[in-house]
Symmetry: none
Subunit: 204 residues, 2 copies
């Protein structure tokens, strides 16, 4: 008796598709093989292929146009998030993990970006801080998005963005207004070591 639950076909298809994208170095906008072609190539029924594709579509990873084909899309989580938020039963453990993880990543990004700012960048950050937003969280997103871009670490940025989207639907998680200003101040004064402390103070 195996402890491994046998993998469903559509799960395998997911892996295969991922492999295909990697192997062929596909980028956003590129076309995937047709459903019928995939079915033949992967030795699976078209319905199984579709189950995998539909799931990917719901996650916003692919776009499908009737009569044309299936295409890799630039990742936009909005539809996923919206769907999830309507289903979500909040589980405190999960929530805490999420917020804690997000904060860690924000902190490390803030440190990574430390020596990559110009005077013009500081101006722009102050401007973002002073701007008025519809939702307080928009400031947070704009501000940290700027920082993440400065780190040049796209992966970290994407993961953060993902976490941001997920946490956003559950509860507001905005830092104290003075926080942002203080962070920029640390940047301008080249005070690296205090960044860690600044984030620690934000523990709620």
């Amino acid at each position: 008796m195996s402890l491994l639950p046998k993998q469903k076909v559509y799960q395998g298809v997911l892996d295969e598709i991922r492999g295909f994208i990697e192997k062929n170095k596909l980028n956003a906008g590129d076309k995937l093989p047709s459903e019928r072609e995939l079915a033949e190539k992967l030795q699976a029924g078209r319905s199984s292929i579709r189950e995998a594709l539909r799931a990917l579509e719901l996650l916003g990873l692919i776009e499908t146009k009737a009569g044309e084909g299936t295409f890799l899309s630039t990742y936009r989580p909005f539809q996923t998030v919206e769907l999830l938020s309507s289903f979500i039963l909040q589980e405190s453990n999960t929530r805490e993990d999420l917020f804690l993880s997000k904060r860690i990543i924000e902190k490390e990004a803030a440190k990574l970006a430390f020596d990559r700012f110009t005077d013009q960048d500081f101006e722009e950050m102050y401007r973002m801080i002073d701007d008025t937003y519809e939702h307080p969280n928009d400031r947070h997103v704009a501000f940290f998005n700027f920082i993440f871009m400065k780190t040049g670490n796209l992966l970290l940025a994407r993961i953060w963005h993902l976490m941001e989207k997920f946490s956003h639907t559950i509860k507001r998680d905005v830092y104290d207004p003075s926080f942002y200003r203080e962070l920029v101040r640390l940047y301008t004064e080249h005070d690296y070591v205090s960044i860690e402390n600044l984030f620690s103070k934000q523990e709620s």
Copy 2:
């Protein structure tokens, strides 16, 4: 000509299912109607029902057991984050991002776990360090897996595992053997602040 793209059947099914759950006040663990029953009730083909259910399953919102039925599950974003991350990971061309991010997460986990060790834990960690492994990376994985478990942050652990899996296939990323021993020493001597430095030294 309508600007609204006509909704696909499985999208509608998603809405119907959500409505069904709400209307009948279903909680985690409760059973959904069978696929055939839903197909009849919603006037749709079973394959369309399945496309919706598979998407929900991938999102971690439902669980299906062959021969039994489909059940509401407690919501865990881990699965989703994992899947999305796996796509995001392969997309980012720079593998350096991956290693840097992984190291950051390992470092923060090491700090999170700081005050959660017992003397027995230290013994176990030393044992893991001294064990012989087939691959050097196995030690790394075993050691940090232990640390991640101690943090109690399952989300962070999963993301790390994912990164580990990806990086593993590309290039070995093992710390200096003395590193692990030194980390445990910092734990035993309650030297929190030196953890950050220890990881910095590992910069290659």
